[in-house]
């Protein structure tokens, strides 16, 4: 009775935004939809929150059909859209009160659910929402989305544009909400946030690349990845790309992630090659694949 999505497709005029999307979110699961801007995440969220109608396919939220039972769904879901969507000219408290009212409840009634988030912004309860910092806005938006004790929570890119400290706090809050029997579907363009979800779907260009737990996705990465570094990054990348046995070459922070086409790859050989290219301080070491490596391999 969580979220069930089967064969959803949606096009805007010529552009195909979603193509045959299917997945299932179990009750009380924290499910992540991971993909870059323009992958179709927001369109999918809007279909699931009954704001858009899909061209094809079916979806149910806690058993209610998104098309026929949209009124029931609107009573039982919490939705936090991608950009900050509260009244900037109302204070923190006025916003919260207003959203409680339109859901036919009061702040007091469900205070227990939002308490540990609300106490963090309570000192600013008389401040206008427009004057809050990014992290504060996001906490207030979460409070407003939770005020009617929804069974399912939809969070569309809640951490975009938020600094690392607030991001971390936000994910901690989601973990706690999960304990309170709320099913959560969250989307993010940040691959590093994938590891914080129970299960994730990688999505790009309107298609799902893979659905699994973050651990399994990384495990299924079939190649051995090497961290390569040298004195000159630009020349290193060019040399690696020119190497005849390269399978993939991706800059990855201070290193380059390198995979080879051969199963019997010997790093020493590569080192010799790089030295011939007049590179120095060369280091080649095995490393663990990340979600990002998996994503790129699949999207390649």
């Amino acid at each position: 009775m969580g979220i069930l999505v089967s064969n959803i497709s949606k096009s805007y005029k010529e552009v195909k935004a979603l193509h045959n999307i299917s997945f299932e979110v179990k009750p009380k699961e924290l499910f992540g939809l991971i993909g870059p801007d323009g992958a179709g995440k927001t369109t999918l969220f809007r279909i699931l929150t009954t704001l858009l109608i899909a061209n094809e396919g079916k979806a149910t939220i806690t058993g209610f059909d998104v098309l026929n039972n949209f009124k029931d769904i609107r009573k039982h879901v919490g939705y936090m859209p991608g950009r900050f969507s509260l009244y900037q000219d109302l204070t923190v408290e006025e916003n919260l009160k207003f959203f409680a009212t339109i859901f036919g409840t009061t702040i007091e009634e469900n205070y227990e659910l939002i308490e540990d988030i609300y106490v963090q912004i309570e000192p600013f309860k008389n401040r206008r929402a427009g004057k809050l910092s990014g992290g504060m806005k996001q906490k207030l938006a979460l409070c407003c989305a939770l005020i009617h004790k929804p069974k399912v929570l939809f969070l569309d890119e809640p951490t975009t544009g938020v600094d690392p400290v607030s991001r971390k706090e936000f994910w901690d809050m989601l973990k706690r909400l999960q304990q309170k029997n709320i099913t959560i579907l969250v989307s993010t363009p940040y691959m590093d946030e994938a590891a914080l979800c129970d299960r994730i779907a990688l999505i790009q260009n309107g298609e799902i690349l893979q659905i699994d737990t973050p651990e399994n996705i990384v495990k299924q990465y079939s190649k051995v990845i090497y961290d390569v570094s040298a004195n000159n990054m630009y020349q290193l990348i060019n040399s690696l790309k020119a190497y005849q046995h390269q399978h993939s070459v991706y800059p990855f922070g201070e290193f380059v992630h390198y995979t080879d086409t051969r199963s019997d790859f010997n790093p020493k050989e590569l080192k010799t090659y790089l030295e011939e290219q007049k590179l120095s301080n060369i280091s080649i070491e095995r490393t663990q694949a990340t979600i990002e490596d998996s994503f790129m391999e699949m999207a390649k």
Binding site: T49, T50, L51, S85, Y87, T101, I102, F103, A145
Partner: protein, 368 residues
């Protein structure tokens, strides 16, 4: 009910915290009515006129002297021939010409009656009208002085003749027009902007994904503006009564009811606009171009409908403001009751009903 109060409270917060909308709501009506009131004024001062005196006798001299000493007129030119009248007007030197008939004194004594023609430039019809009234009253005064102690009354017939705009209809009744414009502006533009603002901010998305029903959103949005528009209407009526001494002849109650009807139709138009525009800017443009311009140009407020080309006259019929102005003029100036304006009221009612149905139908329960 709690929901309603909550929603309306929120709307009032928006209105009172936004200086721009506060100005449009309360500054604009006052500024407009004062502007129109003082710009279209009945006072004239030192208006240039020309004299065409065919008799040049004692009486005409006396009258001319009286006119020239009044503060209202200054005699710019004496002309000799009828043909020169056209010329002085064309040159724009004078606003009016007084044409005394031949043998003015003689006629007055012989027939107890003489004629002076007041020819005025009615490109500015308001002034033209005023000029002829002033001249007439100077002549009246003169006669009254002359007739003292004489048993037989002399009569000077003044023949006003307006050139260039002979009909001179519905000109300076600016109060009904301004009231219509302001109610339209406040009701239609402000509601459409306030609804599209929610779309722009994304809060509409959250409202949609909540159990609140479309009609609840609409009523919650519209109520504060009904309230504020009524206050505006009252302010305008009070201003016109106390500052411009404009008598309201008819029933104030009827005036109130008709105003509320018009306000509701404007609000429905506002909602309709908000359903077809995605941004505040579009809503504002549509309100200004699609509502304000027709109200100003085609409602008969400034340009008399009867002198418009036929196609425009037909179009003017679909503009609610036209009917409301007729109703307002009826009540405020003529003091008529419902029995004389029921037809207009019914048309306005029909339009309002149509707009409400259309806007509720058009209101989207989803994005897109």
């Amino acid at each position: 009910m709690k929901l309603f109060i909550g929603f309306v409270t929120k709307e009032f917060y928006h209105i009172f915290r936004d200086k721009r909308s506060l100005f449009i709501l309360f500054g604009m009506p006052i500024v407009q009515i004062l502007l129109f009131g003082f710009a279209i004024t009945n006072e004239i001062n030192n208006v240039d006129i020309a004299i065409l005196d065919h008799s040049k006798d004692a009486t005409t001299k006396e009258i001319i002297n009286k006119i020239s000493t009044s503060k209202y007129f200054s005699i710019k030119q004496h002309i000799e021939r009828e043909a020169d009248i056209e010329t002085v007007f064309k040159k724009g030197k004078v606003k009016a010409v007084l044409n005394f008939e031949k043998d003015f004194s003689k006629n007055l004594i012989k027939d107890y009656q003489a004629t002076v023609q007041i020819i005025s430039d009615a490109t500015d019809p308001n002034t033209a009208n005023t000029i002829s009234n002033y001249v007439s009253s100077i002549l009246q005064n003169y006669l009254q002085e002359q007739n003292k102690g004489i048993k037989i009354n002399y009569v000077i017939i003044s023949q006003p003749r307006m050139v260039y705009n002979p009909e001179l209809k519905s000109v300076y009744m600016f109060v009904p027009g301004v009231m219509t414009i302001i109610l339209m502006l406040v009701s239609a533009m402000m509601t459409s902007i306030s609804i599209t603002r929610e779309k722009e901010l994304g809060t509409m998305e959250i409202l949609l994904v909540s159990p609140i029903k479309p009609f609840q959103v609409i009523i919650g949005k519209v109520f504060p503006y009904i309230f504020l528009s009524i206050i505006n209407a009252i302010v305008i009526v009070l201003l016109s009564i106390f500052i411009f001494k404009m008598p309201v002849q008819g029933s104030l109650f009827l005036l109130g009811v008709e105003s509320v009807l018009f306000i509701i139709s404007a609000l429905a138009l506002g909602i309709l606009i908000s359903t077809i525009s995605a941004t505040q800017q579009t809503a504002m443009m549509i309100s200004l171009m699609g509502l304000m311009l027709p109200v100003i140009l085609l409602s008969g407020f400034i340009f008399p409908i009867s002198s418009m080309p036929v196609p425009l006259q037909i179009i003017s019929n679909v503009i609610p403001a036209k009917w409301f102005i007729i109703i307002l003029k009826g009540i405020m100036l003529k003091g008529v009751g419902l029995q004389f304006i029921w037809k207009e009221t019914l048309i306005l009612f029909g339009m309002t009903f149509f707009f409400i149905v259309l806007s509720v139908k058009k209101y989207k329960i989803r994005l897109e």
